[in-house]
């Protein structure tokens, strides 16, 4: 699984951090998404898919 984030689209809602804390963080200055792990392990796959599904700004893309 490969995760791609679009900083331009991100509105800093923090939903991705709720869903998968080991994969996403937020930049301190403006809350923009920080991708901690581009290739998350299989056991986190469901959480990451959920993060992409609840990102309100559609800023997270997953390439399987």
């Amino acid at each position: 699984m490969k995760v791609v984030v679009d900083e331009e689209k991100c509105v800093a809602a923090g939903q991705c951090v709720n869903a998968a804390m080991d994969v996403f963080d937020q930049r301190d200055e403006d809350g923009i998404v920080v991708l901690l792990d581009e290739n998350p392990p299989a056991e986190l796959a469901e959480d990451v898919r959920n993060a992409a599904a609840i990102c309100p700004a559609l800023a997270i893309r997953i390439e399987e």
Binding site: V11, A12, V17, Q26, D28, I32
Partner: protein, 412 residues
């Protein structure tokens, strides 16, 4: 034929939005709204001013429309479906804010406001939120019975937290609680609202000026620094501060009050919640209660910026669009048996905070406040119960900005 339904001509027969909730199930969205969604996810409705915007009731359709760039939040466009006459009259004078800006303007404004509300920063605040909550409960338990949960816990907690974040003295809270309420009422005149806004604006301008001289670790100091750097004007900073101050009050407060009334009405679910000893499970319960109650009951108001086809509806540029969030959160396609409160249900895809680029900025603060209150109050006060019959509770009408109960008399 379903297709013909969605193309319903703007006529007198269209469903009137907002109608009232069923007094027997006050926590459920109005029955007419749910029936509408059974017919089609998008329909024409009639609103208070006689206009006939599109009402989006389906969960998937709401997410699609609220993240569609052909749809605008600009409340100065003719045809915008205002929720009431006060908004309609005041909109021409609204400055550009996170609520009514689109695209790049929105991004610029939003980014100035997001810093204090990130999930990691909110997590760091959890211990203080816990401390305040415990103190408020101690005070309630030491006071007379019955007590009003709204004045004891629901209002002071969010109010205190937003004051801490902004760097506004909590000692002045009576002043802004009153103004916060004015901003969310439809029964005030434009003049009355303007006077209230001017008073609050003057107060904040004063405070911002003080923070320019003596900055601290808070949002107003952050804005003050931007004014000094020339990134922000004083009136803009006042506006941003006012939005944060007002938005932080009513909504979280309503969720604490309504959530408690709802749980007392569902003793089985409440018993389960009391047993839970895991923050993840409590967090999940909070999402389900958010879904069930959907406090922003007036729906997200938008306007089409161009012609397009959507779910069989021929939307024209200038058509008003309303995403009725309570209906989306009770759409059986997204949440099977929506009328069942199930704290273990996976509900994090609800739209109680809206959807798209305008999704609530303060949602992580609200979540942690609710997690702490729901995780503490019922455990510490296991005999908590209503001091009046449920029928006597004063539920706010369907046309109030936030769904809520003005007073919740409880005893233990």
């Amino acid at each position: 034929m379903a297709e013909a339904e969605t193309r319903l001509a703007p006529d007198e027969q269209a469903y009137f939005y907002q109608d009232d909730r069923d007094a027997k199930c006050p926590f459920a969205p109005p029955p007419g709204l749910r029936a509408l969604n059974e017919k089609a996810p998008v329909t024409r409705v009639r609103i208070w001013d006689g206009s006939t915007p599109w009402l989006v009731t389906g969960h998937a359709a709401q997410r699609a429309i609220l993240s569609d760039p052909r749809v605008s939040s600009d409340d100065k466009r003719p045809g915008f479906p205002y929720p009431n006459h006060v908004m309609a009259e005041s909109a021409p004078h609204h400055p550009l804010t996170i609520f009514n800006a689109d695209g790049a303007d929105h991004t610029r404004i939003r980014r100035m406001m997001t810093r204090p509300f990130t999930r990691p920063r909110m997590e760091a605040l959890r211990p203080s939120i816990q401390e305040f909550t415990d103190e408020l409960i101690d005070r309630m338990l030491a006071g007379p019975k019955p007590a009003d949960l709204v004045t004891a816990v629901s209002l002071p907690l969010p109010s205190l937290m937003i004051c801490v974040l902004l760097g506004v003295p909590y000692a002045d809270h009576d002043f802004f609680q009153e103004h916060a309420q004015w901003a969310t009422r439809s029964d005030k005149t434009v003049e009355q609202q303007n006077a209230a806004n001017a008073a609050l604006g003057g107060y904040l301008a004063n405070l911002l000026q003080k923070k320019m001289e003596e900055p601290a670790e808070d949002v107003l100091s952050d804005f003050a620094a931007r004014i000094k750097d020339g990134d922000l004007t004083l009136p803009e900073a006042v506006m941003l501060s006012m939005i944060l101050l007002i938005a932080g009050h009513e909504t979280s407060s309503s969720m604490i009050t309504l959530g408690t009334a709802l749980l007392l009405d569902n003793p089985g679910q409440l018993a389960n919640l009391r047993e839970i000893d895991d923050t993840k499970a409590v967090a999940n319960a909070v999402e389900e209660i958010l879904r069930y109650l959907t406090v922003p009951q007036l729906g997200q108001r938008r306007i089409a910026a161009e012609d397009f086809e959507f779910e069989g509806a021929e939307i024209k540029a200038g058509d008003g669009i309303i995403a009725a969030l309570p209906a989306g959160n009770w759409d059986p396609e997204a949440f099977p048996e929506p009328e069942k409160l199930d704290l273990t249900r996976k509900a994090s895809h609800h739209v109680a905070f809206g959807w798209g680029i305008h999704q609530c900025l303060g949602q992580q603060l609200a979540r942690i406040e609710l997690q702490v209150v729901y995780g503490t109050l019922y455990r510490r006060v296991p005999t908590l119960r209503l001091a009046v019959d449920r029928d006597e509770l004063d539920f706010r009408p369907a046309d109030a900005l936030a769904f809520g109960i003005s007073e919740l008399p409880v005893t233990w």
